[in-house]
């Protein structure tokens, strides 16, 4: 079974440019999450999709960030325009619905996209 994949693995852009990150979750996983780790800090939650709907977007830093999940499959995270403080590693994770005996399912993480804004 293929794991969570993310594209690109690295992206270097100039301040003010636009970048789009893509995440392909594990097939059949309704839950999709975006997280970000800025250098030296904790991994922070950005948002959570259930199928194509945004369940929780409380972690999105500002309106320069736009996330979509087309048809409940892959997701994109667009940063427009990018700022220096947006640099970091962006992780995507997916999970399926509850499966006994656990009452919470494991989140499977992708390898991350390292974004550098110059």
């Amino acid at each position: 079974e293929a794991g969570v994949t993310q594209f690109p693995s690295h992206s270097v852009i100039e301040k003010g440019q636009t970048v789009t990150l893509r995440c392909d979750p594990i097939s059949g996983h309704d839950n999709l999450y975006w997280y970000r780790r800025v250098m030296g800090k904790e991994i922070k939650f950005l948002l959570h999709f259930v199928k194509e709907s945004k369940q929780d977007e409380s972690g999105m830093p500002n309106n320069r960030f736009l996330a979509e999940r087309t048809g409940g499959t892959y997701s994109t995270l667009k940063v427009q325009p990018a700022e220096l403080e947006d640099s970091g590693v962006y992780f995507c994770a997916s999970s399926q619905d509850l499966t006994p005996p656990y009452s919470v399912d494991e989140q499977f993480f992708g390898p991350g996209t390292r974004l550098t804004v110059l």
Partner: protein
């Protein structure tokens, strides 16, 4: 707001020895979930072990076990018989219970563990 603290930025251990990674958290909720994730160098983060707060018994997964102290809000990870493949960044994470639905993870800053031959 919930917070997770890992007070050991880096640790090292000799192969075959035992090491304990510390994690404390802060929450006012009575039920929640705790996790340890491992990220080997240049590889994806994977789940090591999970604990549901309403369960008093400490979780174990082969060489990995936790010491869950709910009153102290402490959730340490013990790795027995350390192997070179255990070299990784270890993240402690917290998740609120949301009526059984999925929720976001709150992470600590991580502990970089090096296993030396």
């Amino acid at each position: 707001a919930q917070t997770v603290t890992q007070s050991q930025p880096e640790m090292s251990v000799q192969e075959a020895e035992t090491v304990t990674l510390s994690c404390t958290y802060d929450t006012s909720e009575s039920n929640y979930y705790l996790f340890w994730y491992k990220q080997p160098p240049s590889r994806q983060m994977i789940l090591v072990i999970r604990q549901e707060a309403y369960k008093q018994q400490n979780a174990t997964e082969n060489r990995f076990s936790v010491n869950f102290q709910k009153a102290a809000k402490s959730f340490s990870l013990k790795i027995s018989d350390s192997q070179l493949g255990d070299t990784a960044m270890y993240f402690c994470a917290f998740m609120r219970e949301r009526g059984g639905s999925q929720g976001n993870l709150i992470f600590g800053k991580g502990t970089k563990l090096s296993v030396k031959p």
